[in-house]
C-alpha cells in the first residue's frame, strides 16, 4: 500500500510539472504577439524593421505615441486619431445606452408577460440569429440612403435602440431566474407592469445588464464592416476604419507608429476587461451554457 501511494504522488508530481510546462509555453504563444506589438510601438523606425528582430527596444521612445496620435495632422489640419476616437466614443455611448434600455424592456415582455403570439415571436427571434449580415447589407444601405443617414453615425446606432435577438435571449434567461412571487406580490399591491419592471426586476437584473452593456461596447468598438459601409469621409471614421485606412494608405504608415496606434485602439478594451473581469467571464460562460 505504501509503495503504491508513493508511485501515485510521483505520478501526480510528474503530471503537475507537465501541466505547468504546457501552460507556460502556451501562455507565451498567446502573449508574445501582444508584447511584440507594444515593444515595436516603442522602437525607432529602422529598429522596427530590423532582422533579426530585437525583443526589447534599444531605447523606449514614448514619443511615438504622441506622434501616432498626431499622425497626418499637417495634411489634414486636425489630428485624425483624436477625431476617430471621439467618433468611436460617441457611437459606443449611443449604442450601449440604446442596447441596454431597449433590450431590458423587450426581454421583460418575453420573459414575464403573457400575450398572444409571444412564443411564436420568440422562436422567430432566435431563428433570425442565423440570417447572415451580407443578405441584409444592400437593403439596409438602401433604407439608410433613403433616410439621408449614409455618411453619419446614425445607421450604426439607431437600430441598437430597437432590441436585438441575442441580448433579448440573454436577458430573458436571466429574468426567468427571478422568483415570480416578487412580481405577483407587487401586482397584488396594485403595482403597474411598468412599476414591477422598474422597481422589482430592474434592480435585480443589474449584473445581467452590465454584461449586455459590456458586450455591446466591445462589439461597437470592434465593428468594422458597419462603419466601412456607411462612413465615407475621414472626419466621420471610427477607430476601426481609421486604423485600417492608416494601414492601407499608399506608401504606408511607418510601422512603429502603426503599432502605437494599434496599441491605443486595443488598450481601452483591455483596461475595461481588467476592471470588469468577473462580469465578463460570467457573462461569456452564461451565453454558452444556459442555451
Amino acid at each position: 500500500m505504501a509503495k503504491s501511494d508513493k508511485t501515485l504522488t510521483q505520478q501526480n508530481l510528474r503530471a503537475v510539472v507537465v501541466i505547468h510546462a504546457a501552460l507556460v509555453i502556451l501562455s507565451l504563444a498567446f502573449l508574445v504577439p501582444l508584447i511584440w506589438m507594444i515593444s515595436t510601438s516603442l522602437k525607432e523606425a529602422s529598429e522596427a524593421r530590423a532582422f533579426p528582430p530585437t525583443w526589447i527596444p534599444k531605447e523606449f521612445l514614448w514619443g511615438n505615441y504622441s506622434e501616432a496620435f498626431n499622425y497626418n495632422k499637417e495634411n489634414l489640419g486636425y489630428a485624425p486619431f483624436a477625431v476617430y476616437g471621439r467618433n468611436s466614443l460617441i457611437l459606443c455611448l449611443l449604442t450601449v445606452v440604446g442596447t441596454v434600455v431597449s433590450n431590458a424592456v423587450v426581454a421583460y415582455s418575453f420573459a414575464r408577460l403573457k400575450w398572444p403570439g409571444r412564443d411564436v415571436a420568440f422562436a422567430l427571434t432566435l431563428a433570425t440569429m442565423m440570417v447572415p449580415f451580407p443578405v441584409l447589407m444592400v437593403p439596409l444601405f438602401g433604407l439608410f440612403k433613403e433616410l439621408g443617414w449614409v455618411g453619419t453615425l446614425r445607421p450604426l446606432w439607431v437600430p441598437a435602440w430597437f432590441g436585438a435577438a441575442f441580448n433579448i435571449f440573454l436577458l430573458r434567461q436571466f429574468y426567468r431566474t427571478i422568483p415570480n412571487e416578487l412580481s405577483e406580490a407587487a401586482r397584488i399591491d396594485g403595482c403597474s407592469e411598468w412599476g414591477i419592471f422598474s422597481r422589482v426586476i430592474l434592480p435585480l437584473a443589474k449584473p445581467a445588464l452590465a454584461v449586455v452593456a459590456l458586450f455591446s461596447f466591445m462589439g461597437t468598438w470592434n465593428d468594422f464592416l458597419g462603419p466601412l459601409l456607411y462612413l465615407q469621409r475621414q472626419e466621420s471614421f471610427t477607430l476601426a476604419v481609421g486604423l485600417q485606412s492608416y494601414s492601407s494608405q499608399a506608401g504606408g504608415t511607418p510601422l512603429h507608429l502603426l503599432m502605437a496606434a494599434s496599441t491605443m485602439v486595443v488598450a481601452p478594451v483591455i483596461i475595461l476587461f481588467f476592471f470588469t473581469q468577473k462580469q465578463f467571464i460570467q457573462g461569456i460562460a452564461a451565453t454558452g451554457l444556459k442555451g
Binding site: T128, P132, P139
Partner: protein, 300 residues
C-alpha cells in the same frame, strides 16, 4: 382563443407595448430588408436605377460564376480548418485550466487577452508578425527550417500559405470558447471521475468517456456558432489581404458580396449571392445539428 379576463387583457396589452420597440425594429431592420433582398435577388439593380425583374437569371449566373466558387471554396477551407482547430485548442486550454493548478487565474487571463483585441488592430499586427522580411514568426521558424536547410515560407505572399495566416489567427482568439468550455467542465460531477479512477481508467479514457460526452452540448453550441460566423468571415481577411491577395487565395465569400454590391454596384446579383450564402448556412447548420443530435449527451 379563450376569452381573457381583465387582468390577462391588461397583461397582454402591457406585453405587446413592452415588446413594441423590438417588433418595430424586427420589421424595419430585419423582416422588410430580408424580403426586399429576396425580391432584389430576382432583379437587375444598381442603386442608380430602379430594380428590373429578370427572373432566376442571377441564380443561374451564380452557379456559373468562377469567383463564386473560388470565394466559397476559400471560405469553406477556412471554416473546415479553423473550426476544428479552434475547438481542440479551446477544449485543451479549458482542460489545462480545469486541473486547478496554482496560478489558474493568471493563465486564464493570458489565454483570454488575445480575444479582446479588435479585429482591425489584430489583422494589422498579424501583417507584421508574418512579414517575410522582418516578422517575428519567421525569425523563430528560421531555426527549425534552417536546421533542415530550408527557408521559412513567405506567408503573406504565398498562395499556399496565406490562408494559414488567417487560420492561425482564429486559433489565437479562442478565449470566449475557452471560457464557455471551462464553465462546462466545472459542471461535470466530480464523482464520475472518481468512479472511473476506481475502474482504473487512464486520463485519455476519462477524457473520451466522461469529459467529451458531458461537454458535447457545449461543443455543439460552439460549432454551430462557428459555422454561422466563419461563413460570414470578413474583417480580418479584408484588412490583411486587400482584394483577396495573393491571387484571390484569401478572397472570402463576404468580400465578394461586398465588392459586388458596393464596388461594382450590382445589387441584384449581390442579393442572390447573399441568399445563396443564407441557404448554405442553413444547410450546414442543420446538417451539423443532425450530426450532433445523435451524439450529444443531454443531462437529465
Amino acid at each position: 382563443m379563450a376569452k381573457m379576463g381583465q387582468s390577462e387583457r391588461r397583461q397582454a396589452l402591457a406585453g405587446v407595448l413592452f415588446a413594441m420597440p423590438y417588433l418595430i425594429g424586427f420589421s424595419v431592420f430585419l423582416a422588410i430588408p430580408l424580403l426586399t433582398s429576396l425580391y432584389n435577388s430576382f432583379t437587375e439593380y444598381s442603386v442608380l436605377r430602379e430594380p428590373v425583374w429578370i427572373g432566376v437569371r442571377n441564380y443561374a449566373d451564380v452557379f456559373k460564376d468562377e469567383l463564386f466558387y473560388k470565394s466559397l471554396g476559400n471560405t469553406l477551407f477556412f471554416a473546415a480548418f479553423s473550426i476544428p482547430l479552434s475547438t481542440i485548442m479551446a477544449i485543451a486550454l479549458a482542460m489545462l485550466l480545469n486541473t486547478k493548478v496554482r496560478g489558474q487565474a493568471f493563465y486564464r487571463t493570458f489565454f483570454f487577452l488575445p480575444s479582446l483585441v479588435p479585429a482591425v488592430p489584430m489583422a494589422i499586427l498579424w501583417l507584421y508578425l508574418f512579414n517575410g522580411d522582418f516578422g517575428i514568426v519567421n525569425a523563430v521558424l528560421k531555426i527549425p527550417y534552417g536546421a533542415l536547410g530550408l527557408e521559412p515560407p513567405n506567408w503573406l505572399s504565398s498562395v499556399d500559405h496565406a490562408k494559414n495566416v488567417l487560420i492561425t489567427m482564429s486559433v489565437w482568439t479562442v478565449g470566449n470558447a475557452m471560457i464557455i468550455y471551462l464553465a462546462g467542465l466545472q459542471e461535470i460531477p466530480q464523482q464520475l471521475y472518481e468512479a472511473s479512477d476506481l475502474d482504473g481508467a487512464s486520463p485519455w479514457q476519462k477524457t473520451k468517456n466522461v469529459t467529451i460526452p458531458l461537454l458535447s452540448p457545449v461543443i455543439m453550441f460552439n460549432v454551430l456558432m462557428g459555422i454561422i460566423g466563419s461563413l460570414q468571415y470578413f474583417t480580418q481577411a479584408y484588412v490583411l489581404f486587400p482584394g483577396g491577395a495573393p491571387a484571390r487565395s484569401t478572397y472570402m465569400y463576404s468580400m465578394y458580396i461586398y465588392d459586388t454590391a458596393f464596388r461594382d454596384l450590382r445589387m441584384g446579383y449581390a442579393s442572390a449571392l447573399g441568399w445563396v450564402m443564407f441557404v448554405i448556412i442553413l444547410t450546414l447548420t442543420f446538417t451539423a445539428f443532425r450530426f450532433f443530435d445523435k451524439k450529444v449527451h443531454y443531462e437529465g
